[in-house]
């Protein structure tokens, strides 16, 4: 206490303390209430009954507007397909490129949906996997109106209907797919890679890239042991984990990548790596020295799916847009831009037709796309491709640590 302070001041200073006590108590009670209210309420939703859903859809009408949330660069810049949709149906659209990463996006919409608030989107794009599973289990997705999918039923490839992660396309239809295989830099690796064992080969010590994602790397660990991830058991996962741990301990892996493997392999920092088909295709178009293969032992196919989130304001319009994207001309326009794997097989021929009436660079690139096994996998490829290991939430808690302990050591 400074003796220079006047007595009035000292009196003044004692008052705030009493006021502060009041605030303290108020604060503590508020905190107490917050704590009590703070159990994140989980709701394992019982799957909606058939008649419930029929009633739901019977009550819905076309509203004339649709809000589509997607990844950036996943739609032609001029919004061609969406504009045509608007012309044909009169439904106006809002297109928002708000998804940066699946896990983050889910982490963002989950609290909102749990609180029963609408997202403001009628269609969202979720990759199959853990978050997709959560969307279904938590009741965050509205089951689709199967009667409104004529184009999908007519034009979608058989392998895109009735996937293991969404039997009967109850909640989703595919938007674009990609597959995970092995890519290598042709300047440093002169041989043609065919086997997954190349990733484990000590002669590439320190030059191998693996993916950090547990589901991706888990699949490859299993492929290397001849295990089918779609039918795997906990025992299988552990075995795969051991194989991957040995790979790591031998110093073969340079890094566990997110998506940045593509720059690394193109530059030659790594010579051989797990890779997504779409990334390699793009780089090949740019003339970069990379090549790709689906290993004999197997590769992973993943799909970005269209879903209708709970609380969507315009579900009927959403269904119409989702189905519209399955018209062959529209799917072609879409795939020409996205350059991943379209769920509509007819696109391949349409691209060739388009190439015939085109010329020069455009013709070249259209043919390159139509002929590329990276955009149009062969029957043989499809036979080797498997989805991610199907996991319940309880199983995730066993699966994830096995592989994360290797990639995050």
């Amino acid at each position: 206490m400074n003796p220079l302070h006047p007595p009035a001041l000292l009196r003044g200073m004692t008052q705030p303390r009493t006021r502060r006590d009041v605030f303290k108590i108020a604060g503590l009670s508020a905190a107490g209430l917050a704590l009590a209210a703070c159990g994140v309420q989980g709701q394992k939703a019982a799957p909606p009954k058939e008649d419930e859903m029929k009633d739901f859809w019977a009550d819905q009408k076309q509203n004339g507007h649709v809000v589509f949330a997607n990844w950036p660069d996943y739609m032609p810049t001029d919004h061609g397909p969406l504009k045509k949709f608007q012309q044909e149906t009169g439904i106006s659209y809002e297109y928002k490129e708000v998804i940066q990463e699946t896990a983050e996006f889910f982490g963002k919409i989950d609290p909102v949906l749990r609180a029963g608030q609408p997202l403001g989107y009628d269609i969202v794009v979720i990759t199959n996997g853990i978050q997709f599973q959560h969307m279904i289990e938590l009741g965050h997705a509205i089951p689709l109106d199967q009667s409104r999918l004529p184009n999908f039923n007519a034009n979608a490839g058989e392998s895109y209907k009735n996937r293991a992660y969404d039997p009967g396309n109850k909640y989703s239809v595919p938007y674009a797919s990609g597959f995970t295989g092995i890519a290598w830099n042709t300047k440093y690796v002169k041989e043609k890679i065919t086997s997954i064992e190349a990733l484990f080969d000590p002669k590439y010590k320190g030059r191998v890239g693996m993916m950090a994602d547990a589901q991706e790397i888990g699949n490859f660990g299993m492929f290397a042991l001849g295990i089918d991830p779609e039918k795997s058991t906990e025992d299988d996962w552990r075995k795969a984990g051991e194989k991957l741990k040995a790979q790591r301990d031998a110093g073969i892996v340079r890094k566990y990548y997110a998506q940045d493997y593509i720059d690394a392999v193109s530059r030659g920092d790594i010579w051989i790596t797990m890779a997504w088909s779409g990334d390699i295709f793009q780089r090949q178009l740019a003339g970069e020295p990379v090549d790709f293969v689906v290993p004999e032992e197997g590769g992973t196919i993943w799909t970005d799916n269209l879903l209708i989130p709970k609380g969507a304001a315009n579900p009927v319009d959403a269904m119409m847009l989702m189905d519209y994207l399955y018209k062959p001309e529209i799917a072609t326009e879409l795939d020409e831009f996205i350059q991943y794997v379209t769920p509509v097989p007819a696109v391949q021929d349409m691209l060739r037709q388009k190439a015939e009436s085109a010329s020069g660079e455009e013709k070249e690139s259209l043919l390159e796309m139509a002929d590329s096994p990276l955009m149009f996998p062969t029957e043989a490829d499809y036979a080797k491709l498997r989805s991610y290991t199907p996991l319940t939430t309880a199983q995730q808690q066993v699966f994830n640590p096995i592989f994360q302990s290797i990639t995050q050591a």
């Binding site: 302070h5 001041l9 003044g12 200073m13 705030p16 604060g27 508020a30 905190a31 917050a34 704590l35 009590a36 703070c38 159990g39 994140v40 309420q41 989980g42 709701q43 394992k44 896990a103 983050e104 889910f106 982490g107 989950d110 853990i130 959560h134 289990e137 938590l138 320190g206 547990a214 790591r248 892996v253 340079r254 890094k255 566990y256 997110a258 940045d260 720059d263 690394a264 530059r267 030659g268 920092d269 939430t393 309880a394 995730q396 808690q397 994830n400 994360q404 990639t407 995050q408 050591a409």
Partner: protein
């Protein structure tokens, strides 16, 4: 009235932080003591074991982060102090321009900066490739995917946060004082040590606070520049929260990290006697 001044001054800041920091953090603290999963929900079980499990399971990454953060902070201090010194004493009329130039690269997205570094530091790229072709480097030498790269990245990304506060403190020092001290102590070194350095301590403290803390918690540099053994605690928290949806563990780890950092900072403040320095300066 005058004695209410600090309270009035601090009030808006207090309110902002009370509403947007304290309440949400309180909620997180509560989550850190819960059990459950994303589907079935979480319930409060006061499970302090969340903390011990998290710390036990990730002690390596925690320690590693503190080490990386510490080394990077030291590097930033060594690299940045002379820059702050020069700008403060010799920057003349253009002082703020220099500061602005230091920060300008950070107005451009970190993704672009990091990708560009990847390009520059590629094993056979424009820098290393050239040096290797001249025989100055071993062909297997690399910068990326090493702990050096991660620490260098942290140093690069937070350097202005060290330079600016040191500059701010140094700029106040009267250059004539420095000259007089140099005459008195017959040398720049001693003058610096006995006069300039102590006066700059509030700035150094601020700089260390604003760099060590975020650097230790940073996930980006480890993710982009690291190899197989460089995972930091920020990455772990991210994975637990976003991938595993294990909110209690993520929260427990975050609070552990915050606690360690706060203890470190307070200890540092004590050791430095910064509080005393501030008081002395204010008198």
């Amino acid at each position: 009235m005058r004695r209410l001044t600090p309270y009035l001054l601090a009030l808006p800041g207090w309110m902002w932080m009370a509403i947007f920091l304290v309440v949400p953090l309180g909620a997180m603290a509560s989550v850190s003591l819960q059990t459950g999963n994303a589907i079935d929900g979480f319930v409060m079980t006061f499970s302090v074991s969340n903390y011990s499990d998290a710390i036990g399971g990730y002690s390596i990454q925690l320690v590693r982060s503190l080490v990386y953060g510490g080394v990077a902070t030291l590097a930033m201090l060594v690299i940045g102090y002379p820059v702050a010194y020069w700008i403060a004493f010799k920057g003349g009329r253009h002082k703020s321009v220099y500061l602005f130039l230091l920060l300008l690269p950070f107005f451009v997205s970190f993704v672009l900066r990091t990708i560009s570094w990847g390009f520059l530091l590629a094993d056979d790229g424009i820098l290393l490739g050239t040096l290797k072709s001249w025989g100055l480097l071993h062909p297997d030498f690399r910068v990326l995917a090493t702990s050096f790269a991660v620490v260098a990245g942290l140093t690069y990304n937070f350097l202005p946060f060290m330079i600016l506060p040191i500059y701010v403190a140094l700029e106040r020092v009267d250059p004539r004082l420095v000259e007089a001290a140099q005459d008195l102590y017959a040398g720049r070194g001693t003058a610096f040590r006995k006069v300039v350095l102590p006066l700059s301590l509030p700035g150094v403290f601020a700089g260390v606070l604003m760099t060590f803390v975020p650097a230790t918690a940073d996930p980006v540099n480890a993710q982009v520049l690291g190899g197989t053994s460089n995972t930091m605690i920020g990455n772990i928290i991210q994975t637990e929260y976003l991938i595993n949806n294990d909110y209690p563990t993520a929260s427990a780890l975050s609070f552990t990290l915050m606690a360690v950092l706060l203890v470190g900072i307070f200890a540092y403040a004590r050791v430095l006697g910064t509080e005393n320095v501030l008081e002395a300066a204010a008198r």
